[in-house]
Symmetry: D2
Subunit: 327 residues, 4 copies
């Protein structure tokens, strides 16, 4: 059971013994938890009555278990987490942890708008079996979410979280980027192990890696669209919506990058861009779920107000996959 | 108890008898509920431990009761509603309703990201005594929140809400404007009585009033900064953060507008702009709460991650009030 | 010939006697030039070969002369000034001045990206007969166009301009707003008489009027869409694209505002909003020119790369006029 | 003299024989002009009176000639081209062509707002000796600059230009991105050889390369900040402001990328990001010119309204170079 804790560290943190049970399992190397690899940010299937469909979720998990993912992200933006009640959020994580082999990491989205609620949710996620928590930037009062506020927020969460914290910047949804200077400061916290950066600004990603190089801080690309480029500047993995659909292929891209087969990587990367755009910024979660159906997974409908795709959109979506040779 | 339902209407809606109990109290005139007037979107005081401080809230309410407000908005953006747990949101509304004279309206913010949660919260708010609910645009998946999605969302909420619905567009926080065509469509719903528009685009506000003129649809300015201008184009009231601090003055501005004393209105309007900007987009909720302290109300700290103002910011804030003759 | 200089002032400016010839015509009251009233920012007709069509321009001017405009703005954004060569810009102003009765003001757009070129163009415009120059914010290096840069720019231009300067903020085209603090500073310059504000932020407009109230500084609304609201907070006129098409009506709206007939003003204002949006941000200059044709003026094509409207767009444009009773 | 025309193509274009003199020098392979390599977008030195300082320009050129640049870009955004008169723009290109060895390409910025002016300027640039022209997206009427307008614009320019055209997308200055579909369409034009993309969206860059792969279309990174990443996805060079200052180093980064030394490339790339940000989006052209002085080139002041850096900014700028080991 220790195996999946590669690294993860003994730097002194002031927090209660009760919360440290997981920490004690860290290996003796004194490094932070290793989160390298590819993760699909899994979708949440719903029944016709909009309840979470745990059976379908379980079916998907069985299939994902056979793909060389490092683990799963539960309740990233593609998991419709803002549409889940607090209890549902925790229960989904519990079910995923139960269904998944122990050698796969479960990184659970625990971000809420208030620091207090995020602290609490992070503890609940850890108790439900999350190996790490992914904490999105609070954003409703975005005009006030400067570095001071965000450093304070993440520090409080990381101070109390029983499991390591992964920062999460997704400006398309939140309307704000976690500032580089805040990331650099936070990278020094012993319980903050990395960042998922979904903005796609490769200069920023490279700068973060450069400025945190002394900190054993890990950067995950937040999309398959710039995965190769992110590897080229030092990222160590990706949390990619498209991996819900083309999981083997995203893992293959990782492999090509890690083994320096850049020409083959480039050819594969090209073919992933349009499908990736289609299931993210072009058509959103509904498209991701539609494409999952085509590739043998349960997708289904989103909770409202997210709408089903129009037929015209479905045709364009299909074209974005077929013109790149995937359908 | 019927008195505060001025208007409010019998247009046929398909909804369960159980939900209609309040409706039956509507008067016989067949009009929609009248929401004209000035409302402070009240702040939520917290204790040092960040719990809701109901005693301090109550003290504020006693003072607000003496100002000719039409009512209060509970859990607008200034109420830090995204930082309250679901139960807290309902409890605050219950306490406000209990403390407030019956002739004052309580409009309760019931917006959540999902349609399902918003429906549920609206019912709870009604049961807690809200006279109407204020429903902010869902925004996390803002790229998909087009007119189709938003019309669907608000229609579902209005179909089931036991009390009238007020639309709420606040792009500074949500990053999206409720499109004019969606507002026009929604204005035809018998249980949607108006909109709080906080964007400040006066052309848009005038266009909404023009395009909904056949629908008895009421527009409230979402800020004291453009209250006179909004009245000049046909708005019927305002939900103004600044009314938490300078409530008498905002009501006086209303009175001057309603009685056609435009020169005096203009002179007063001018003096409210800088204080208003200071407690909203310049410094946010923390500044509103600071200013409340200066004017005899309980403000106190925000929940984190909202930060206290720096001393330098407090000085600028004070200057924005004093240079306009308020301190 | 002195008549059209209402006001305009003797405050000391350091500039050569040669440039002061116009100044000496200012009346003895020591006030700044009075620019109150309504102005169409005239369109520039072109021949099929994309040359300026001075004959058609002249025809339009004969018609505009019969409308109670205060004057014309030549080479605002609707004049396609960025598409005119420097010589063309000056020649168009010269022709307009020659064709127009002397009691109508000619305000000429003289803004260029560099201070040097703007200074030179302002002098040429004055020599061509402009009564005042309208100076748009330079914007290519918008990231560096802070208050310091803009105050420097406008001060240099105003120091040397033989005729009064009107500031011009049009964020839809330039991507930047002239900051309020810069406007306040610049309002103290004796040769800067006002601002055309096309952004439509009525709070900002009211704040500018409030903060410059000691300076005899005149604010013109940059659009017919918020003309009534602008008057309600103290603006003294408007430069309105729609006045190229519905000139009498825009002047009538002015009259209703000035005489305090707010209800009638409101009814008229409502009917102008959609046509105004159609010829500005919805379809742009090509739509303005199309609508001009419907109302008896020469519009014609734009210079490329501005494209003619599609037939579908023309239908929508027509609807925006007809549904408001203008066609 | 033929040597520097690697490729460059004979596809039929309808244009006058007079303009085709350069074309006839293209080699027989039928390919398009090869523009691979690194280019500094050179700065324009000015005298104290803000005239172009040709002597200082010449001094810089002598130094640049010794660096393995493929050529120079004259009048990119860093050349302050919007601040140069039309005659100055041409004269600067002429002087650069005269001073530069024939084996270095001169790519001249010929973009103007109107199609007509851009056509004319492109011809003048070609006559002044430009090997290719770089055509920025027109942007003043950005709301109307859709794919239809931009395809029309670039097609007209490319149809008539005596030398190949390079597209230029620089959203930080223009507020618009040349849409991918427009780039793909334009890549089929025989006289359009590539694009300088300064937006830094690496997903977009990769997609453009993928979608134009059948067209021998060349993509140049518009900044040193994402040069490595751009190479990793198939770009063939860069137009990098920082190459004005650290030219050898940028060329070294190119070399490391081209020879597959990715680890060394990454280490070098990291050290270039902060200096690059400092001379571009953080402090702009004034900072570029300041840094040029430190590295032995003539920089000097910008034309107004661009302001000199404050002393505090100069200190930060120096720090951005020194902390990365360059000063």
């Amino acid at each position: 059971m220790l195996a999946f804790f590669r690294g993860f560290g003994p730097k002194t943190c002031r927090r209660s013994a009760a919360l440290l049970w997981k920490r004690t399992q860290a290996d003796s190397a004194g490094q932070r938890m290793d989160i390298r690899g590819i993760y699909p940010p899994i979708a949440t299937p719903f029944t016709e009555k909009e309840d979470v469909d745990y059976q379908k979720l379980n079916d998907n998990l069985q299939k994902y278990a056979k793909i060389p993912f490092r683990g799963l992200v539960v309740q990233g933006s593609n998991g419709e987490y803002p549409y889940l009640m607090a209890e549902e959020r925790v229960e989904v994580v519990r079910r995923v942890r139960q269904a998944l082999p122990r050698d796969k990491l479960v990184i659970a989205g625990s971000g809420c708008e208030s620091t207090m609620a995020t602290v609490q949710m992070s503890e609940q996620m850890a108790q439900a079996g999350a190996d790490a928590v992914l904490v999105v930037t609070p954003c409703f009062y975005r005009g006030r979410m400067d570095s001071r506020a965000l450093i304070h927020h993440y520090t409080k969460v990381a101070d109390s979280s029983p499991v390591p914290v992964v920062l999460y910047s997704v400006p398309a949804n939140t309307g704000l980027d976690l500032p580089v200077d805040a990331v650099v400061t936070l990278s020094q916290h012993p319980n903050i192990v990395g960042i998922k950066d979904s903005g796609g600004d490769i200069t920023r990603i490279a700068l973060i890696i450069h400025k945190t190089s002394s900190e054993d801080f890990q950067v995950l690309a937040g999309s398959a669209g710039f995965l190769l480029a992110a590897y080229s500047v030092g990222a160590v993995g990706g949390v990619c919506a498209l991996a819900n659909v083309l999981g083997q292929q995203v893992c293959q891209l990782e492999e090509l990058c890690l083994t320096g087969q850049w020409e083959a990587a480039k050819a594969l990367q090209y073919r992933l861009i349009e499908p990736n755009i289609a299931v993210t910024r072009k058509f959103g979660v509904a498209a991701l779920k539609q494409a999952m159906e085509w590739f043998g997974y349960h997708g289904g409908s989103c909770r409202f107000p997210l709408q089903p795709l129009s037929e015209a959109d479905v045709r364009v979506l299909r074209q974005d996959f077929s013109s790149n040779g995937w359908l």
